[in-house]
């Protein structure tokens, strides 16, 4: 079965897909083309499921509804780290929202800028130029990151806004989380935003970002899970964001990643077998997968959310008839 979308969640789907194949025999073919493409291909029904790190937008839901009811199923929580490659600066540089926004706006150009020095007394900051790395493809990671920036920088909100693709004022564009990670790794003095799994994999130094409660929190499994606690006002269709969580231990740039399927895949154009396989895999991800995903630094869904997600997955039908999941 085929899936496409978020590079943010690619390690997750690849890992769980491998496990699922070992268990079940069905191979999952996931192409990490970015959330933007994931949503678009899901709407166009060219894949079995799409993956996006931001929930479907209103107009995307409307477009999807031409083929049937879209299900927006959260599968895991991940963190968007602010990673940097600056010889001389170790892990845990303290940055707050406005500072990150200013860096990405091009207003802060050097690593030893006063704004950084103020938050990091005692850290010797070099006079290196900051090279900004961002995404060039439609990205849910961008969506989450810019959502965070919009909350803290009125100028960012006015000039750039938040979306899966934005017009970046400065910086180099790379494709996928992998591309940003590669660019950061190859460029001295660079800063980029990548999902936690990529930062850990490449042993990046990541910033401790100031959250809503005023604490500088580093990205970790724990702080990511924290972002998922006590989610207020969950809409029934589960289109939510957990960015900038008020929890004191929460990492502020963490949110859920979603799997997008049509509730009635057969009506949308897929076969019964494809629908069953898709549901089977989703059940695995929402079941056993929730434990194994921690190995790669993805936080499992908090229990309330998990049961809602499982309910959504179970509600999938084929031309009206319930699917007996082949897992």
């Amino acid at each position: 079965m085929t899936g496409a979308g978020a590079t943010f969640a690619a390690p997750l789907y690849d890992q769980l897909g491998s496990e699922y194949k070992d268990q079940n025999g069905t191979s999952i073919n996931y192409q990490s083309v970015g959330s933007g493409a994931g949503v678009a291909q899901f709407i166009a029904d060219t894949v079995d499921y799409g993956a996006s790190d931001v929930a479907l937008k209103h107009d995307e839901v409307a477009q999807a509804q031409k083929r049937g009811t879209p299900l927006n199923i959260p599968v895991a929580f991940g963190a968007v780290t602010v990673a940097y490659n600056v010889p001389g600066i170790n892990k845990g540089l303290k940055l707050d929202g406005p500072t990150v926004a200013d860096i990405y706006l091009g207003d802060i150009k050097k690593w030893n800028d006063p704004a950084l020095a103020k938050q990091n007394p005692g850290v010797k900051l070099p006079a290196t130029n900051i090279t900004v790395i961002h995404r060039s493809d439609g990205s849910g990671t961008t969506g989450q990151f810019t959502q965070f920036l919009v909350d803290y920088s009125p100028q960012w909100k006015k000039d750039v806004g938040t979306d899966k693709t934005v017009k970046w004022p400065v910086g180099t564009g790379a494709r996928g989380n992998e591309g940003v990670a590669a660019a950061v790794k190859q460029t001295d003095g660079s800063i980029g935003y990548v999902e936690l799994a990529y930062a850990v994999q490449n042993k990046f130094n990541t910033a401790n970002v100031k959250n809503k409660a005023g604490n500088y929190v580093g990205p970790s499994l724990q702080s990511t899970s924290s972002a998922g606690d006590n989610l207020p006002n969950l809409p029934a269709d589960l289109r939510f964001t957990a960015i900038n969580s008020p929890n004191p231990q929460a990492y502020p740039i963490a949110s859920a990643t979603f799997a997008l399927v049509y509730k009635d895949m057969c009506k949308a154009g897929k076969s019964k077998g494809e629908a069953q396989r898709t549901q089977g895999f989703l059940n695995y991800v929402l079941g056993q997968g929730q434990t194994s995903m921690r190995e790669i630094q993805y936080a499992s869904l908090p229990s309330g959310l998990a049961s809602k997600a499982q309910a959504e997955a179970s509600s999938m039908t084929c031309n009206g008839a319930a699917l007996s999941a082949s897992s």
Partner: protein, 288 residues
């Protein structure tokens, strides 16, 4: 042209300087190829020693064994193979029409012009076209290996047609006329005289078109999309060497980048074999 006097020192100096500059220019032209091949060999050869590289598919596992490129190699062979089966007969047929029947008629000139124009289309636009006509259309929506093949065959068509037309034109008219004078029907002339004589040239042109198609990534991006697991079914999303390289090149993990280099070496070797075969065949061409 007025006669130039005995060679002054200044002229000799200019001559020497100019010739050195040209030599340097030629040397510069060689450097990129040497450097590219050097690095591809240096960073890619290591993986060849591991037979897993060719017998395993990319595993996709974020941690642990990244796997090999078996699905990519076989995918390339299949996708390019299908494109070849489509493009070569059509291309040669088109060239035959232009040379044997159309000649310089208005219609033939229009066809020639359109084919020429097609040869200038950037390869990504072929992928775009197939995407909007075949991938998102209702009945057969989805990515598939054969859709990539069609995009590639669009790319190959002008190359094959043009090369074949040149070669077919080189067959001396006397041969055709002699056969016709002996009472042979037209179709026999084509089948038994023209095509056999032109065969080496046709093969050369075809091999070069195949080599070109094998290296293309852009037309496959959103027609085939890609895969990791091996599938021999052209109706599925498949893997392909250029796609595999393109995916691995933007990775941060060193072992994935190493895999990109090794895949690049594999792809270059495949293309080189086709190129060498083309040269070998063309040497047996009687009329070149």
């Amino acid at each position: 042209m007025s006669a130039l006097g005995p060679i002054s020192t200044r002229r000799r100096l200019t001559d020497k300087t100019a010739r050195t500059v040209v030599l340097i220019g030629a040397a510069i032209a060689l450097i990129p190829l040497v450097l590219v091949l050097f690095y591809v060999l240096k960073r890619g050869l290591g993986a060849f020693l591991n037979v897993d590289f060719f017998t395993q598919d990319p595993s996709g596992r974020f941690l642990g064994n990244p796997g090999g490129i078996r699905s990519a190699i076989l995918g390339t062979i299949e996708i390019v193979g299908l494109a070849t089966i489509i493009a070569i007969p059509i291309g040669i047929g088109l060239a035959l029409y232009l040379v044997e029947f159309g000649k310089n008629s208005l219609f033939a000139r229009v066809v020639r012009y359109f084919v020429d124009v097609l040869s200038g289309v950037p390869s990504i636009v072929f992928g775009l076209f197939i995407y909007i006509t075949l991938v998102v259309s209702g009945a057969i929506s989805g990515f598939a290996g054969w859709k990539g093949s069609i995009a590639l065959s669009l790319l190959m068509l002008p190359i094959v047609t043009r090369a074949s037309e040149v070669v077919l034109n080189l067959v001396p008219n006397e041969l055709r006329e002699a056969a016709l004078a002996l009472g042979s029907p037209r179709w026999r002339v084509v089948a038994r005289v023209v095509l056999p004589s032109a065969l080496p040239g046709l093969v050369t042109g075809s091999l070069l078109a195949i080599a070109r198609a094998a290296g293309e990534t852009a037309p496959l991006l959103f027609t085939v999309l890609g895969a990791k697991a091996l599938t021999l079914n052209l109706g599925d999303q498949m893997n392909s060497l250029p796609l595999q390289i393109f995916n691995d090149v933007r990775e941060a993990q060193d072992r994935l980048v190493d895999r990109a280099w090794a895949s690049a070496l594999t792809l270059i070797l495949m293309i080189l074999i086709l190129n060498v075969a083309a040269r070998f065949v063309s040497r047996r061409n009687r009329f070149a």
